[in-house]
Subunit: 252 residues, 2 copies
Amino acid sequence: MRFISKTSSGGVTEQLFSLDEIPGVLWTPEDAHGSPGTRPLILMGHGGGQHKKAPGILARARRFAAEGGFAVAAIDVPNHGERPTDEEFDRIATEYRARRAAGEDTAAQDTAMYTLLAGRTVAEWQAVLTAVQRLDHIGGGPVGYWGVSLGCAFGIPFIAAEPRVRAAVLGLQGSPALAGAAARITVPVRFLVQWDDEQMPRAQSLALFDAIGSTEKTLHANPGKHGDLPRLEMDDSLRFFARTLQAATVYE
Amino acid sequence: MRFISKTSSGGVTEQLFSLDEIPGVLWTPEDAHGSPGTRPLILMGHGGGQHKKAPGILARARRFAAEGGFAVAAIDVPNHGERPTDEEFDRIATEYRARRAAGEDTAAQDTAMYTLLAGRTVAEWQAVLTAVQRLDHIGGGPVGYWGVSLGCAFGIPFIAAEPRVRAAVLGLQGSPALAGAAARITVPVRFLVQWDDEQMPRAQSLALFDAIGSTEKTLHANPGKHGDLPRLEMDDSLRFFARTLQAATVYE
C-alpha cells in the first residue's frame, strides 16, 4: 500500500493511495493520526460510471468520518475512475448509458457488468480491507460496507464472502443474478429503494431485498428517481453504522 | 373532559379521562404538570380488538412521553375496550377473528370495520384533540398520529381531514378503500410494512404506501408477521416525531 497524498480539512484527513493497480482513498478523523488503536471502518462502493471521489461518496465519507469517527475507504473499481477500460466493459457501458439516456431500465446492463467484474472486484476489496486494517490507526475493528446501484451489485458477493463485514447499507439494485449471493448474507442490512427508480424495476428491487438472508434487514423506500436518495437516508445510514459497528469498538 | 384518575411512575403521569362517551388516557412527562406551555402531542390509534392501554400502545406512549417529552393520548375507538359493541360490528369482528385464527388475511374485514366506523371515529378524534389541546400544560402545539393496522385505517381519513396533524407513523394496512383519503395526506409519513404479514397482502400494503400524497414518505419494511414490529422501529418513530414535531415547539 503506497500513500500518494495527504490533506486535511473540516476535521477529516484524506489520503490517496494505491495498492498494486488499485487506486483508492482513505478518510479518517483528523485526530486519529498518531493515535494507534482499533477504529471501525466503512468501505464505500461507488455506482456505475462513478469513481472513488464521486460527490455522493465524498459527502458520505466525510460525514461518516467527521460525525461518526469512522475510517472510510473507497476505490476505483475495475474500468472506473483512473483505471483503464477494456473492450467488453466499454461495450456494456455504452449500452448502459444509451438506455439511461433514453429513460429505460439498466438492470440487464448491471447484470452484465456484475458478471464481467464481480470476481475481480471482490478479490480487490478483500485485498484493500486487509491492507487498510494493517494501518496502525485503523486496526482490525468492525467493518461496514455502503454501496448502492453497481456498488450494491459488487457489495453483495463481497459481503457474502467476507466474514469481516458486520453490517451493510445496500440498494438501488435488483439484478436477479445477485439472489444467490444475497441469500448468503447474514449481517444487519439497510436496503434502499427509490420508489420511482427509472433504472431498476421496482419488483426486481423488492425481490432482491426478499432474497437477503439476514434476520435483521430493513427496506427503506422513498419517492423519487434512481439518483434522488433523500438526505434523511444519509442520517439514517450514519446511525445504522453507529449502532451496528460502534458497539464492538475498542478505542485504546 | 372529565379526569377519572391520575398516577405517576417512571417520570410519566397517566390520566384516565372521558369525553362524552369516549374513554381515553393521557400520558405526559411528570414535570409537565403545573408548567403551562405548548407541548407536542401524539395521538395513538390502537389496532383491531385492542384498546387504549394495549401493551403496544402503553409501551410506546410511555417511551414517547419519558424520552421525547411528548404528551400522548389514546382512546378506545367505537366497539373497543370499555365501549359497548353493536351487532353489525360483532358480526364483522367474529369473521375477523375466525380468519386470523385460520391464518387467512383480514383485509376485507378491516375494510368493513373502516366503512362502518370511520366517520364516527374521525369525529371523535377531532373532539379529543380539541379537548386535549385546551389543557394548560399541552396547548396548541404540533400534533402527530401513530397508528398501525386498524389504527392506520382510522388514522388515514383523520389525518386527511385534520390540518392540525403534522406527521404520522402508519402501516400494517392495505385496504384499497383507504386510497382516496391517503391521496389527500400531505404531511411527512413513516409507513411500516411487515414483510411476512399474514393479515395484509403485501401488494395491497405497497399500493397503499404508493397512494399516500405526501412528498416526504418513507416505507420501512422488516421481516416478520403482523404482530412482530421490531423494537428498532419504536426507536425510529421516536426520532421521526422528534424531528418532525419538536422543531416547531415552543416551551415557555
